[in-house]
Symmetry: C2
Subunit: 335 residues, 2 copies
DNA sequence: TTGAAAGCGCTAACAG
DNA sequence: CTGTTAGCGCTTTCAA
């Protein structure tokens, strides 16, 4: 591998001069600059980023940890984080934690050893471990999407309570009077918050929601299937369902059809996240969009700012969701 | 940051000894090892990967370039590559090329400068540039999924011709006699191959396919919509459609329904890739699964082997697709 | 079995 | 404006 030294020799200058030409850190005579640039070009020299980083004690990399890459909402996060990072010339190291806090810890460890600029992650269960890690290092960390309510690490999240309110109000607007819900796991804070906003809004409009209209599960399509089946099987009367994400909504919709109900004619269904397939589904799925792009931008920005010595403004950034109306809650559909 | 030197001082040994304890490269007296390990633990020491890599001229990282991260088939690739890499203790640097060969080149450049172990990528348009880059370096590269027919770089791909054959035969098995197709861009080699296999198989069974039954476009849902609309608008007679991927199939299915046709009753539709939502769609989508997991494993394995000095076996690995039958080509459906 | 010393490729004082 | 020098944190001869 040709090194900076080789280039220097070739151009007949000192290594420092070459370094200065490359980084533009100081003025260099037009003539020497030319010679150096020619030398660089002639051997197709590429500065070794490892050496540079070691010397500068900083890399051009950031790390991202997600619970599950191929999950349609996390792949959106991955995409936008990559975009924001790339725009800033930062490279992205990615890890799939599989919701396993041991993997999470291992990944963070690897990242810290590489002196990355910062770590963005979506929360897994165990708190203490990571908080300790973050305390023992000066590497910026920021939590995205899934944070604890009383998160000790800076975080940028969605206003989940408000999402629940939006869902309830939209379903009510659509004329639903018996509204059921299929939720994620209540161990996850944001599920509790979404649910709370949902029932509060329902209550405000004088709508009761009994225990048999709430199906708790997880963020999967299968859970949507199970929830809808249970409602039908238990002869629950309902004309609207909110699923805590679009996967759940899809599971509910397909199940309703398979069991002889029509969406939206017999029951309106809405989801949450506005993942890629929500608009492709038939009927297309009414959902609540998360401002993923902005969330990711904020997270990367936070790290970028901190890396360049700027001070942070907020510890917790909470962004607003917005409703996306589609066919699954439409008045009627000829299907 | 505490360094190896600090640990050495703390344990009252030389830096080399600490290094030897950490890497187990040589025998160290049980007693000294203990002292060293205690010192390491007491200061929570983490070896600096950058320094290590600089010294060893090798990292624990690999790079992956995909045309579009949030595309449902590439996120599967990302997921599986991450998994294979992680199993080998390798970290993944990821780049979204947006089908732009300039971005591709920039990304590869960044990667080479970091001395990553190898690069896995899905092909973008321009060949020469990357081939030159790969020639000028000893970094292993492997192309996955999208390769040129006459690829100059080792590659692991799907048998696309055979996919076309499978699609045609399945539709014929379902009793279709007038089969249309909505394809990806024929500039992409794999689309031509899929198509060739498709029409060859159709021909073998005595089925003609006229130009108006072929809608060329790209790998998007919208293309599926356009294709189906065109067929309907042009009053093409058809009872089966193969879309070159599941996105296209979904676009066709939803459009057919919206325009008063039923899938699979009036027309059978199948896709390709078996992306996440294919089984969640209603009707669930019959498709041709790519062995992504194995493809990714092979690609990472290739790099891993090459890094550790082993020799390569094959230059081109071509894996077999397999049919996944679901509702969209079922006999009848009560929908 | 352990230590001293050199060096991976780069940058940044410090001189000149 | 340019060169010399030291050193980032690690591994690895080479000697002892």
């Amino acid at each position: 591998m040709t090194s900076l030294k080789d280039v220097a020799a070739l151009a007949g200058v000192s290594p420092s001069t070459v370094s200065r030409v490359i980084n533009g850190t100081m003025f260099v005579t037009e003539e020497t600059r030319q010679r150096v640039e020619e030398a660089i070009a002639s051997v197709n020299y590429r500065p070794n980023l490892l050496a540079q980083s070691l010397r500068l004690k900083a890399t051009k990399n950031i790390g991202l940890l997600v619970p599950e890459i191929a999950h349609p909402s996390f792949d959106l996060i991955v995409k936008h984080i990559e975009e924001s990072a790339s725009r800033r010339g930062l490279n992205l190291l990615i890890f799939n934690t599989h919701n396993d806090y041991l993997r999470e810890a291992t990944a963070i460890d690897m990242l810290l050893r590489q002196k990355i600029n910062g770590i963005i992650f979506s929360r897994v269960s165990d708190e203490s471990h990571v908080v300790n890690m973050s305390r023992s290092t000066d590497t910026p960390m920021v939590v995205i999407d899934r944070a604890f309510h009383d998160e000790k690490i800076p975080n940028v999240i969605l206003d989940n309570y408000h999402s629940g309110v939006i869902a309830a109000e939209h379903l009510i607007d659509c004329g639903c009077t018996r509204i059921a819900t299929i939720t994620g796991n209540f161990k996850i804070g944001l599920c509790r918050e979404r649910h709370q906003g949902f029932i509060d809004a329902l209550g405000k409009h004088g709508l009761e929601i009994s225990a048999d209209m709430i199906h708790e599960g997880d963020f999967t399509y299968e859970n949507g299937v199970r929830g809808a089946k249970r409602f039908l099987h238990d002869s629950v009367q309902f004309d609207g369902i909110w699923g805590h994400n679009d996967l759940i909504a899809a599971g509910a919709i397909s199940t309703l059809f398979r069991m002889g109900r029509s969406v939206p004619n017999d029951v309106k269904v809405m989801g949450m996240d506005d993942v890629g397939f929500a608009r492709m589904y038939y009927p297309s799925i009414t959902t609540i969009a998360q401002p993923y792009k902005e969330m990711c931008e904020r997270a990367v920005d936070y790290i970028d700012k901190l890396t360049s010595g700027e001070s942070i403004r907020e510890f917790r950034v909470e962004l607003a969701p917005h409703l996306v109306v589609r066919e699954s809650t439409a008045k009627r559909n000829d299907r």
